[in-house]
Symmetry: C2
Subunit: 117 residues, 2 copies
DNA sequence: TAAACATGTAATTACATAATTACCTATTTG
DNA sequence: CAAATAGGTAATTATGTAATTACATGTTTA
């Protein structure tokens, strides 16, 4: 299962650059301890721990304590589920329908004008 | 281009169920006016307009004013870019490496225990 | 042209986020 | 065992989010 609330938690977790960086680190070094991650950021260790808590609530990170060190792991399952159940549906709009293609091209131009204006 | 800030804006926009519902509506009915969307929600019209502003800032929705009505369109480009540049990298973890597969299975069990406990 | 309609702006409020410092607990290790 | 190490809690603060009501603006249409 994958409730709306769970999906919100995942998107919210991904909506912060530091948290995305943490996932990058864990992807590259599974089992990395908390302190080693904190050392790679300019903000305080506590701030990083808060980010980790957000990631854990979203199910994107799991942890395992050995002795006094907590080892962290990326869990890509929620990302996979979002991609399968949601992203694919929206990306579809690119292929397939010609009707929406014209409309989306126009929309993209409008957005560009808005950004530059 | 697609900056960290832009990516944060997109994820943040997607992190609210009402905003995801708005995208669903616009996917089904391109050009839908503001009021018609607002009528489909329990919250106030102003609240819906705020959600639309968040979606527009993220580039997920564009609009075009004809007369007194503003017509809204889904723009799936940012979703597509996120999927290509980010989601795919993380979903990869499922295929390919057997080392991380064992680790992720264990992590998933741990997460399940945590949720039920 | 007056009323109805569609949207937009301003001010306000309750709550959540992201960060900080100071302190506490548990585990190694010299 | 004492000191260093790794992590966790608590209290606080500034800022951002999500929602509200009341009012204003511009556009059809009867």
């Amino acid at each position: 299962m994958f409730t709306d609330e769970a999906m919100s938690a995942v998107f919210h977790a991904l909506a912060h650059e530091s948290r995305r960086q943490i996932l990058d680190i864990l992807k590259a070094s599974p089992g990395c301890p908390v302190g080693e991650i904190a050392r790679q950021f300019d903000v305080s260790r506590i701030a990083v721990m808060n980010h980790l808590a957000v990631l854990e609530k979203a199910g994107l990170v799991t942890s395992e304590k050995r002795g006094r060190t907590r080892h962290l792991y990326l869990n890509a399952v929620p990302i996979r589920m979002i991609q399968e159940r949601w992203m694919d549906d929206y990306s579809e709009q690119f292929a397939g329908r010609l009707t929406s293609l014209k409309q989306m091209a126009e929309a993209a131009v409008q957005q560009k004008d808005k950004d530059n204006g």
